[in-house]
């Protein structure tokens, strides 16, 4: 080989250079495909949760780290407040805070908003690199590069990491891949060093996302399966013990996690496997000392006994209350009806719905069918790392099927498995060394770009044109699929995942883009026109945005830590005015903010979320709020004149359709979301309209003060209406009579 023009050293250098170049290009592609929203709209924080993260980050950079950890936020969950510093995962804020400080140190004072907006795209480049390293450990670097490229542009991951999507997942997937890479490396080499790195990234992950429980359970499961397969070795022992000890101790330093790792059932698998591996190691040691035939059965029996005792102990301790049982979200993964019956608040979130098959194809296109092929191929030459990929694949496929949001954790392994399949295919069909005997090495490196360890075996076969055609057939079709994949990903990213959802856009009949900016219009109005300590009541979805954009106190927000408080808001919105007014006054509410899409045709408005409000309220006050009262006798959800009286008298209904009929100026008033006709102006007494945005998307009402003559508000407003009508009353009567006919 070295007798040709290029020496081995030069080839390695070229390979290294090409690999570096490719990875940089992948990072570039990953980042640039996430910038659609910034280019189309502006550099803005998206959706709901990111607004809280952004608000917390601003707090962090303007205060010290310890003040941040001790932050008690009295501007949310009024009047309870929230121990924000102790109930958040600080990883994301600390990361962007650090970047912000570092950039200032080197003389680049960048606005914290821009750091936050661009954090997710930047981290996606790092994710691609760790996916490369991870897949390289499973197969080789050519598979790694493919996996990195897939990961860079797969919509399944882009969905949560476009610019402006400043959420925990933005960095969590990077950390997930890093932790898994170091774990694979550690278990392969039995190295304490790599295991410590795995623990460090595990700690980082714990600080950043609640989904860390996935790592906490997957790594022990990997070890457990390996032990069952009889693949226990000392390397595994060193890696797992190190990871578990350091990782658990480190994770307990996060205030929100605290003593959970030793007190919650979610973490017990890791502890159990830690105990198990000690026993297996001990048994292994004894066996090496005293070789007896009987020993094996003694070992087997004792292992079974210990597992049984462990489970019994766990159940006992859970009953005794020493260990917290599994969290509701965890239950809802296994018993899929659990959430629906017991915790409607979890079931109400659209991310927690099960996944239909088109979503998988939409998010990964042809990788989805290469994925099972890749998993199957791993069985052929089953390595310990392969077992990890298999366990990850099967388990996470299930999770992703149960909850849409967990598609995110499945995407990395789909990319890795598919890359393994494609790279194995290319190993077979892209090997032209037989035809190009004279320039084997040079051609290989530049055509395949980066293939390590090519074993050039000179075969004594006759190379006919048939072999060449078969290779070209496979390569050309798959090159086409890859090409199509890039188009698919770009299309999906552009069409589905690049909308900030704070700013909506629609197409006018002439094809031009129309930006609907009602949310910010309303929040800005609140910020400018209401007292700084005004309390705003809205459904919890908008809590974070009100806090972040309007800077006003809210009753409930997306943190959803207190179900009763949310149910209170649900009850206030779904009850009659008399009942609602009591609640509003008890909670010092100054303004009510609702989302109404009936004018615009925006289907995600409050009336469409109404059933969830009612259900959550019914969970606490089953006697006062009843879901079935809101359905007509035929079981339909109606808002027109056939709606039930309870519906028509409920506060949210009145708030939504106040002045709606007037808007149409005598023409038939039609709700464009529910396609129903509204004929009557609801009778609204306890609040007055304060502001309605351009497209009627957001409506703000001011809660009236108690009547100064001691009447109840319905009487007083009736009196007022009559006295205003005064002289006109006689004139008005006529048309009213006509209407009744």
């Amino acid at each position: 080989m070295s007798s040709y023009e290029l020496s081995q050293g030069t080839v390695n250098n070229i390979q290294l250079f090409l690999k570096g170049l490719i990875l940089i290009l992948i990072a570039g592609a990953a980042i640039s495909s996430r910038l659609f929203s910034v280019i189309r709209f502006e550099s803005i924080i998206h959706e709901f949760d990111p607004w809280f993260n952004f608000r917390a980050t601003k707090y962090l950079v303007s205060h010290s780290y310890y003040e941040f950890l001790n932050w008690f936020d009295d501007r949310t969950w009024y009047p309870l407040g929230r121990v924000t510093g102790g109930t958040l995962y600080p990883g994301l804020m600390v990361t962007s805070g650090t970047i912000w400080h570092a950039l200032r140190k080197i003389g680049l004072p960048i606005d914290i908003r821009n750091v936050s907006v661009l954090l997710a795209p930047a981290f996606s480049g790092v994710t691609a690199y760790f996916t490369y390293l991870f897949t390289k450990e499973i197969k080789d670097s050519s598979a790694g590069l493919l996996a990195a490229a897939f990961m860079g542009i797969a919509p399944g991951y882009i969905s949560r990491s476009v610019a402006g999507s400043y959420d925990n997942e933005a960095i969590a997937i990077t950390l997930l891949m890093a932790a898994f890479y170091f774990w694979i490396k550690a278990s392969k080499e039995g190295s304490v060093f790599w295991a410590s790195w795995a623990a460090v990234f595990y700690f980082y992950m714990v600080s950043a996302w609640g989904g860390y429980v996935f790592i906490t359970n997957l790594i022990p499961l990997h070890v457990f399966v390996l032990i069952l397969m009889g693949r226990y070795n000392k390397k595994l022992y060193a890696a797992y013990s190190t990871w578990y000890a350091i990782g658990t101790l480190a994770s307990m330093q996060i205030p929100f996690v605290g003593f959970l790792p030793i007190r919650s059932n979610d973490h017990m698998a890791a502890l159990g496997v830690f105990g198990l591996i000690q026993i297996v190691a001990f048994g292994d040691y004894i066996r090496s000392q005293v070789p007896t035939n009987k020993f094996k059965s003694v070992l087997a029996v004792s292992v079974v006994l210990i597992i049984a005792l462990g489970i019994l102990g766990l159940v006992g301790l859970t009953y005794a209350g020493l260990i917290a049982p599994w969290t509701g979200r965890f239950y809802s993964l296994w018993d899929t009806n659990y959430a629906k019956i017991h915790i409607p608040i979890i079931a109400s979130v659209s991310e927690h719905q099960p996944t239909a098959w088109p979503a998988f194809f939409f998010d990964t296109q042809f990788l989805i069918w290469l994925f099972p092929a890749g998993v199957y191929l791993l069985f052929q030459d089953l390595s310990n790392e392969g077992v990890f990929v298999i366990v990850y694949s099967v388990l996470c496929s299930y999770f992703a099927g149960v909850m849409v949001r967990l598609m995110l954790t499945l995407t990395p392994i789909i990319c890795a498995s598919a890359a393994i399949a494609i790279s194995k295919l290319f190993d077979v069909y892209l090997d032209f060394s037989e035809y190009l005997q004279s320039k084997v090495v040079v051609q290989e490196t530049s055509s395949e770009k980066a293939k390590e360890e090519i074993s050039v075996t000179t075969k004594s076969k006759n190379h006919t044109v048939f072999g060449l055609i078969s290779k070209l057939t496979v390569i050309s079709t798959f090159a086409f699929y890859l090409y199509l994949f890039v188009y698919h990903c770009t299309w999906v990213t552009s069409i589905a995942y690049s909308s900030p959802s704070v700013v909506l856009s629609s197409r006018l009949p002439d094809g031009s883009q129309n930006i609907i900016d009602d949310y910010r219009e309303a929040y800005y109005w609140l910020r400018m026109n209401t007292p700084e300590d005004a309390k705003i009541l809205s459904w919890w979805d908008y809590g974070y945005q009100i806090g972040g954009m309007a800077d006003r106190t809210t009753l409930v927000d997306n943190n959803t830590w207190n179900n009763t408080h949310i149910a209170t808001v649900g009850k206030a919105l779904s009850s009659s005015e008399e009942v609602s007014y009591e609640i509003l006054k008890e909670h010092d509410v100054d303004y009510i903010l609702i989302i109404f899409g009936g004018v615009l045709g925006f289907s995600g408005d409050d009336l469409n979320k109404y059933l969830w409000m009612i259900r959550i309220a019914e969970g606490i006050w089953p006697e006062e709020v009843k879901e079935k009262d809101f359905f007509t006798a035929n079981g339909e959800y109606r808002v027109d004149d056939q709606a039930t009286d309870v519906m028509k008298n409920s506060l949210l209904y009145k708030l939504s359709y106040h002045r709606f009929v007037d808007l149409f100026g005598g023409k038939q008033a039609t709700d464009r979301v529910r396609n129903q006709k509204i004929t009557k102006e609801p009778d609204l007494n306890i609040v007055e309209e304060a502001y309605t945005t351009e497209n009627w998307l957001v409506r703000i009402y001011k809660v009236k003060d108690l009547d100064n003559a001691g009447r109840d508000l319905i009487q007083s407003s009736k009196f007022e209406k009559e006295s205003i009508a005064g002289v006109k009353r006689r004139v008005q009567k006529r048309p009213e009579l006509d209407l009744r006919e």
Binding site: Q353, P354, L370, V375, L377, V428, L484, F631, N634
Partner: protein, 314 residues
């Protein structure tokens, strides 16, 4: 004063006993007699349709709960205590009953209260009961309702499934016995990689084609369409039918199998001409199947701009 009831509790009890269960079965021949009063008892009527063609998921959910509540009631009040349970299932072909109630939707529940006056069903002298949406505990719902109406306390008795217990016991026994006897076969199965590979891939294929979606949402297997035919696919990315899981997992399996064959099996063929033929056939299978896949996806998600080969099938 004694009122001459057209139907009294003793007669109702007879009707009930005739069916051999605790539910009175409403038939074309008897429903008028049973429901058109005057009567001295409450009659709770459930109209349902458990035919697979109807695809009524809630019906399947509701039926066992209803039976359970009726069984519990009669086990504590064998004479009925003036409360009876009746049902009509569309599957039994008693369509006149359904016509009489002018139903378009099932399941529906109605309560007939004791009355001194005769009335036809068309007079609507009954209460319609708002059934909760699917996914709730119907047993609890009926239990609470019956307690409120009758004013009597009674317990829900969970029937003990002796059959299940016996079957489980026998199966476990046989299983353990066969493991004991054929240890070597079992251990070779347990350590057989292709089997494990097959199982893993099987589960992955199920999960990525929306099996859990079907289980959680209880989607119907097929859906009849307006033209009288049957839909295998429904439009919309957030929805699917039971059959779709099977079709899609088959498509994915064909694709994955072809790729695996290209990688592992094709290279073992020594004859180059045969090798070429096999590779071309496998590539063609992949191309065609993938085209079908994209076509199905465009059907599900309107406006999907890419396709390989357009088949007019869909």
């Amino acid at each position: 004063m004694a009122v001459a009831y057209a139907i009294d509790s003793a007669q109702l009890l007879q009707y009930k006993d005739k069916t051999g269960s605790n539910l009175i079965k409403l038939r074309n021949s008897n429903y008028k007699k049973i429901l058109e009063g005057p009567r001295d008892s409450h009659i709770l009527v459930l109209l349902t349709a458990t035919n697979p063609q109807v695809g009524c998921v809630v019906c399947h959910e509701i039926h066992p709960s209803y039976t359970k509540v009726a069984d519990s009631w009669f086990s504590q009040f064998p004479e009925g205590e003036n409360f009876f349970f009746a049902k009509a299932d569309f599957i039994d072909g008693q369509s006149e009953v359904f016509k009489a109630f002018e139903l378009n939707n099932v399941p529906r529940a109605f309560l007939f209260s004791p009355t001194d006056k005769p009335s036809t069903i068309g007079d609507k002298q009954y209460e319609m009961i708002n059934l909760p949406q699917g996914g709730v505990d119907f047993g609890g719902f009926f239990h609470q309702g019956v307690r409120q109406i009758s004013g009597k306390q009674f317990q829900i008795i969970e029937p003990i499934q002796y059959g299940n217990i016996i079957i489980t016991a026998i199966a476990t026994f046989l299983f353990v016995l066969s493991i004991k006897k054929y240890t070597s076969i079992f251990s070779s199965i347990l350590t057989n990689r292709p089997i494990w590979g097959g199982i893993s891939v099987f589960f992955i294929l199920l999960f990525i084609t929306g099996y859990m979606f079907n289980t959680i949402r209880g989607t119907p297997y097929l859906r009849p369409n307006k033209d009288g035919g049957i839909d295998y696919f429904v439009q919309g990315q957030q929805d699917q039918l039971g059959a779709e899981t099977q079709i899609m997992s088959f498509i994915y399996a064909v694709l994955a199998f072809s790729v695996v064959s290209l990688i592992t099996k094709a290279k073992e063929i020594k004859n180059e001409k045969v090798h070429l033929a096999v590779v071309v056939i496998l590539s063609a299978i992949i191309l065609v199947t993938f085209s079908v896949l994209t076509d199905i996806f465009s059907l599900k998600s309107q406006g999907y701009p890419y396709s390989l080969i357009k088949f007019s099938l869909f």
